[in-house]
C-alpha cells in the first residue's frame, strides 16, 4: 500500500507539519495520533506543508481540516503550503460540505421500561391484527356459504395436490420410522418383564391418539405453512395482492380460503396414512425383535385398541390444519415491503404454527380425558 510520512519540525514559535506521499483513509490514523501527542500550545504559528504530497483523498482532507480548526480555535495562525490545485480543491470541497456541527445520532437510546412497553404494545397490536384477520376470514366464509358457486374448486384441488398428495411420501416415511423407533425402545423394556404382547396396546394407543396427528401436523407446518407464508409474502412484495384488490378479487376468497379448506380436507387423510405407516413400523419391530407374528399382532390390535382412539386422532386433523393454514397465511399477509421480512415471517409462521398445534393438542388431550373418551 502507498504510504505517507509526517515529519514534525519545531522552532521557537513555529511548528511545521510536513506531509509527503499519498495521504488517504488508510494512512491517516497514525498521523492523527502523532498530532494528538504533540504539544503546540506554546507555538504561535503552524505551517502545514503539503508540497510533497502526491495525493489527498476526502477522508484525509477532513483530517487536515480538523487540525486546521483545532489550531485556529486556540488562536494559532495556521496555513497550508501547497501549490497543487487539486489538493486545494479537495480541501475547499471538504470545508464547504462538512457541515457536521453535531455528531450524527445513530440510534435513539431507550430505557428498559420503554423497550418493554414498546415490545408489549407491538405484540398487542399483532394480536389485534390477527383477530381482525380472523374476523375478515369469518365474514368471507359466511359470504362463501351463500352459494355453492362461490367455492373455488380448482384452487382447492390444486392446493390439495400441492400440500397434501405431494406430502404423502415424507409423512409415510417419518411416521414409519417413528413407529419403528418407539417400538424398538419399548421392546427392550417390555422384554425384561416378559410383557411382549403389550407392545400392541402401547403402539396402538400412542400412535393413533397422539403421535400420528402430531407428526403429520409438524411435517405439514414445516412444509406447507412455510410455503404459504413465502408465497403470499412474495405476492405482497410484487404488489400482486394490491393488483387483485383493485380488480375486485378478494385475496381472502382467492388465496386464503382455498388453502385453509384444502388443508382441512386433506389433513385427516394424511393422519390416516400416518396411522397405518406408524403401526406398520411397530409391527416390523414386534415381528423381528419380540417374535410377535403379524397375525397375532393384528388379532391383539383388534381386541384391545378401541375405534375411539382412531377417531380421536382423526378429529384433531381439521383443527390442526386450520391453525397451520391460518397462521401461515396471516404471516404471509404481514410481510412488509422488504425481502428480510419474508424470512422473518416464514420462521415465525413455522414456529408459531407448531406451537399452536401443540397447545391445541394439549387442550384436546385434557378435554377427551375428562369426557372419558
Amino acid at each position: 500500500m502507498d504510504s505517507s510520512t509526517l515529519k514534525l519540525t519545531q522552532t521557537e514559535s513555529t511548528l511545521t507539519l510536513d506531509f509527503s506521499g499519498e495521504l488517504t483513509l488508510f494512512t491517516i490514523t497514525n498521523h492523527q495520533e502523532t498530532v494528538k501527542s504533540t504539544s503546540f500550545l506554546d507555538k504561535s504559528k503552524v505551517e502545514i506543508n503539503l508540497e510533497k504530497l502526491t495525493y489527498l483523498d476526502t477522508a484525509a482532507a477532513i483530517f487536515l481540516d480538523n487540525i486546521y480548526n483545532s489550531f485556529s480555535k486556540h488562536s494559532i495562525e495556521v496555513s497550508f503550503i501547497t501549490s497543487n490545485q487539486d489538493i486545494l480543491d479537495t480541501l475547499e470541497l471538504v470545508k464547504s460540505k462538512k457541515g457536521m456541527h453535531e455528531p450524527i445520532r445513530h440510534k435513539k437510546e431507550i430505557t428498559l421500561i420503554e423497550s418493554i412497553g414498546k415490545y408489549a404494545y407491538k405484540h398487542f397490536l399483532g394480536f389485534l391484527a390477527f383477530m381482525s384477520f380472523l374476523g375478515e376470514l369469518f365474514a368471507t366464509k359466511m359470504h362463501y356459504l351463500k352459494s355453492f358457486k362461490n367455492f373455488r374448486f380448482k384452487e382447492i384441488a390444486f392446493e390439495i395436490n400441492e400440500s397434501g398428495i405431494k406430502a404423502i411420501g415424507i409423512i409415510s416415511l417419518t411416521s414409519f420410522l417413528i413407529g419403528l423407533v418407539i417400538a424398538y425402545q419399548s421392546a427392550f423394556q417390555l422384554k425384561i418383564y416378559g410383557a411382549n404382547i403389550f407392545i400392541v396396546d402401547m403402539l396402538g394407543i400412542s400412535i393413533l391418539r397422539e403421535l400420528a396427528p402430531l407428526i403429520t401436523a409438524i411435517v405439514i407446518a414445516g412444509r406447507s405453512g412455510s410455503a404459504f407464508t413465502a408465497q403470499i409474502g412474495a405476492m405482497k412484495i410484487t404488489e400482486e395482492l394490491d393488483a387483485m384488490r383493485t380488480m375486485g378479487f378478494s385475496p381472502h376468497k382467492f388465496l386464503v380460503l382455498p388453502r385453509i379448506l384444502a388443508l382441512m380436507i386433506i389433513m385427516p387423510i394424511l393422519i390416516l396414512i400416518a396411522d397405518i405407516m406408524g403401526i406398520l413400523g411397530g409391527m416390523v419391530v414386534a415381528n423381528l425383535d419380540l417374535k410377535i407374528t403379524t397375525e397375532l399382532f393384528l388379532d391383539r390390535f383388534n381386541e384391545v385398541v378401541a375405534a375411539k382412539h382412531f377417531f380421536v386422532g382423526i378429529v384433531k386433523g381439521p383443527f390442526f390444519a386450520f391453525l397451520i393454514a391460518t397462521i401461515g397465511i396471516y404471516r404471509g399477509l404481514m410481510v412488509k415491503n422488504d425481502t428480510q421480512s419474508i424470512g422473518f415471517n416464514t420462521t415465525k409462521s413455522v414456529v408459531e404454527s407448531i406451537f399452536a398445534v401443540i397447545i391445541c393438542d394439549a387442550i384436546f388431550s385434557i378435554m377427551f380425558t375428562n369426557l372419558g373418551i
Binding site: 412474495a234 405476492m235 410484487t238 404488489e239 400482486e240 394490491d242 393488483a243 387483485m244 384488490r245 383493485t246 380488480m247 375486485g248 378479487f249
Partner: protein, 246 residues
C-alpha cells in the same frame, strides 16, 4: 366538462407523520392528469387512496359518483370493475401466463364463451403492442417493458373508463418510455379513457399530461396546465421545471 374524480380536504397520517394535510383537486373526464412532486411527498399514497388500497383519515374522495368514505361492499365492487390500475412493476400474477392474466377478470366477471375471451385477449395484447405469440409466457420469462405492457393490457381487460398508472415509464429505457407515452396518448384517443398517473419522467410529463397537480409540503402546490407552471413559486417546481422552461 364532467368531473370524474374530486378529492376534497384529504388528510393522511402514517404513525405520527402527516403526509397529506388537506388536499383538494379535481380530475375531468377525458383528460390525462398527473400527480407530481418530490419523492416522499405522497403521490403514490394518494393514488393508492383513490383505488381504495389505503384509507385516508379525513376529507373525502369522490370517484365516478361514489364517495369513498363509507362506501359499501357492493358499490366498491362495482367501482373496481370500472377502472384499471397499472402498478409500477406490472404486478402480473406470477402463477399465470400473460394471456391468463388478461383473461382473469373476464372469466370471473362475465359469462363470455372461451372463444370470445380468447379473441378479446388477443385484441388487448395487440392494442398495447405485444406479440400474440408471447401470450403463453409467464411473467418471469418476459422483460420489464413487456411486463408493463401486459399489465396495461390486463388493466384494459374490462374496458374501463378510468385508468390509474403508477410511474408508467420508470425503469424503461428512453426509447421504450417514449413508445409507452405515445401508446398512452393513442389509447386515450382510441378508447376515450381518462387517465391519472404518477410520474417522475419530465419528457413523459410534457408529452402526455393535460393537467397536473403538484404535491409539496403536504399540500397541493399547483394545479392546472403545464403552460402556467412557471408562475408558481414552489421551490420544487422551480428546480424541477426550471431547466425545462429555460
Amino acid at each position: 366538462m364532467k368531473q370524474i374524480i374530486k378529492v376534497s380536504n384529504v388528510k393522511t397520517i402514517f404513525d405520527e407523520k402527516v403526509v397529506h394535510d388537506g388536499l383538494n383537486l379535481s380530475i375531468n373526464e377525458g383528460e390525462i392528469y398527473g400527480l407530481l412532486g418530490p419523492s416522499g411527498c405522497g403521490k403514490t399514497t394518494l393514488l393508492r387512496e383513490m383505488v381504495m388500497l389505503q384509507k385516508f383519515h379525513d376529507g373525502n374522495i369522490d370517484i365516478l359518483g361514489h364517495s369513498l368514505r363509507n362506501i359499501n361492499h357492493n358499490d366498491a365492487q362495482t367501482l373496481r370493475k370500472e377502472w384499471g390500475v397499472l402498478f409500477q412493476a406490472g404486478a402480473l400474477f406470477s402463477s399465470l401466463t400473460i394471456a391468463e392474466n388478461i383473461s382473469l377478470p373476464l372469466i370471473e366477471y362475465t359469462n363470455l364463451s372461451k372463444k370470445m375471451i380468447d379473441e378479446i385477449v388477443a385484441f388487448k395484447i395487440n392494442i398495447v403492442g405485444l406479440n400474440v405469440n408471447d401470450a403463453h409466457l409467464y411473467p418471469s420469462q418476459i422483460s420489464g417493458g413487456m411486463k408493463k405492457k401486459a399489465g396495461l393490457a390486463r388493466a384494459l381487460a374490462m374496458d374501463p373508463k378510468l385508468l390509474f398508472l403508477d410511474e408508467p415509464t420508470s425503469g424503461l429505457d428512453p426509447i421504450s418510455a417514449r413508445d409507452f407515452d405515445s401508446l398512452i396518448l393513442e389509447l386515450r384517443s382510441l378508447l376515450g379513457l381518462s387517465i391519472v398517473m404518477v410520474s417522475h419522467d419530465l419528457q413523459s410529463i410534457y408529452d402526455t399530461l393535460d393537467r397536473v397537480a403538484i404535491i409539496d409540503n403536504k399540500k397541493i402546490a399547483y394545479e392546472g396546465t403545464l403552460d402556467n407552471i412557471s408562475e408558481s413559486n414552489s421551490p420544487f417546481i422551480k428546480t424541477f421545471f426550471g431547466k425545462y422552461n429555460e
